[in-house]
């Protein structure tokens, strides 16, 4: 159905090393507009580094990363800013600003960038809090006063508040109980559908992947080793995917336990 569309995000032969450690080793990936792609893979396979390279927070060593046909690698600061205006991200540890109350966290970009009036920004934040199932009273609390699940919901509200065209989710359910994880997954899926956004989610959690994804890609040793439709993941005979989704200790994925 979406095959005729131009990819919104393109990664071609992306390499990134930290000293002698090669993290990304020729990663190729395309994400179509409005698509929700989930990237699965073990710890240390380069998932988070890939997201940070797309955001320009880490400079890739080689290759090409394009968003809407604009190159990210070696882009000027102003070009990078223009691209980042389209993107929001939910961080693994929520990354809420400790020094600001919840409502200022949610309306941060509206207050700083769009210079929205504080009263209006507070009402907007309360509206966004309601959309992630949190009451108005939470608005004036500080992040340290919230539970992990509430923090993740606030972080989700902050990510969707500027109505981004592209959303990144970095292990959104890590550290949450299965019920709260399920709630976050549903909220992510609903937010992506409401905004019509292009989304990349990275996770270890297969339940989360199946709930959020239109398409799933698997990363191993800094390369995509499999990608396919969400329904095809159970049927594939790809040994990497099989080992990962069934949690087998034997297989092509070598886990360094030294």
């Amino acid at each position: 159905m979406t095959k005729h569309k131009l990819p919104r995000i393109i990664l071609k032969n992306v390499h990134k090393s930290f000293g002698s450690k090669k993290v990304l080793q020729g990663l190729d990936l395309e994400i179509l507009p409005g698509e929700s792609l989930v990237i699965i893979g073990g710890s240390g396979t380069g998932k988070s580094v890939m997201l940070k390279c797309i955001l320009g927070l880490i400079q890739a060593d080689k290759g090409s990363i394009q968003i809407d046909q604009k190159e990210i690698i070696n882009a000027s600061r102003s070009d990078l800013d223009k691209i980042r205006h389209k993107i929001s991200m939910l961080f693994q540890g929520s990354a809420l600003f400790d020094s600001l109350p919840v409502w200022e966290n949610i309306s941060f970009s509206l207050l700083q960038e769009k210079k929205m009036h504080r009263i209006q920004a507070r009402s907007y934040a309360i509206e966004k809090l309601a959309s992630v199932g949190l009451p108005e009273e939470v608005a004036d609390l500080y992040p340290a006063e919230l539970s992990g699940g509430m923090q993740r919901r606030v972080a989700l509200a902050r990510a969707i508040a500027p109505k981004p065209e592209i959303l990144f989710f970095d292990e959104p359910t890590t550290g949450l109980d299965p019920i709260m994880g399920g709630i976050i997954n549903d909220l992510i899926r609903a937010s992506v559908d409401d905004l019509g956004a292009t989304a990349i989610t990275i996770t270890h959690d297969m339940a989360s992947a199946k709930k959020i994804a239109d398409r799933i890609a698997m990363i191993y040793e800094g390369k995509i080793v499999w990608q396919g439709d969400v329904t095809s993941i159970e049927k594939t005979d790809n040994p990497y995917v099989q080992q990962f989704i069934h949690g087998r200790t034997q297989g092509p994925i070598k886990v360094d336990v030294k």
Partner: protein, 290 residues
Amino acid sequence: MYFTISSSFIGLKNMLLSNDKNANFEIFEILRMTSFFANVGRIFLNFLQGTGHLIIFINQTITMGIRPPYYSRQILKQIINIGYFSLPVVGLTAMFTGMVLALQSYTGFARFSAEGAVATVVVLSITRELAPVLAGLMVAGRIGAAIAAELGTMRVTEQIDALSTLSTDPLQYLVMPRVIAGIFTLPLLVLVADIIGVFGGYLVSIYKLGFNPGNYLHQTLQYLKAIDVISGLIKASVFGFCISIMGCYHGYYSKGGAQGVGSATTNAVVSSSILILIFNYLLTAVFFDK
């Protein structure tokens, strides 16, 4: 070069294999000397690398900081944090410094009947040296550490990355307001410290040493020149820059979790304190060198 090194190692190996005590002593001496020079070299290279990195950071901060947007709310918050909340500690330091200075100079000058110079010594010492340096060191301990810890925690919990994704430059939003607050609030703190310090000296001189209040005040103002106060305020401004930039630099680049934040805090306080002492000498030389 390679052959020289490898032949040296072969020589060392042969010496190690021999049971000659003199040869073993020589080996230890060679190893001790080479490791000493290697360590000196490593420390020097690290110093050069760190200095270069810091200069790039300062340059980026200034380049980004002069561009809009300007975060006035953040600047005000930092002015209150650095200036207002440091008043008690700086005031107490100045008060006791002025008091002890009066006491010490009186007992010293009494040996050659120069007690009359106490007021002048107190006011010149406080305004030129003690108020800016001691206020700078106290603020380095209080604020330099707090800035490094706050930014360091923000770095390791990805809050600085989150700022970038929210289209906000961390240098403009986090670093520049702290640097501006440091540059402008330290002189105000030092001005207050000048007044409190001189007042401390006055209290001891009048109530403990028995000076006449009118004479003491007259002597305080008689030899005081504008440059004495202004030089102290300029020093304070430079110290404010050193404290805030070192706190921001070490916090901004901290890594490795809680331990990394701890190291960043220590490094911020130590480096800003050393810079305060170095710049104090340099500025004194500029203002008062004949």
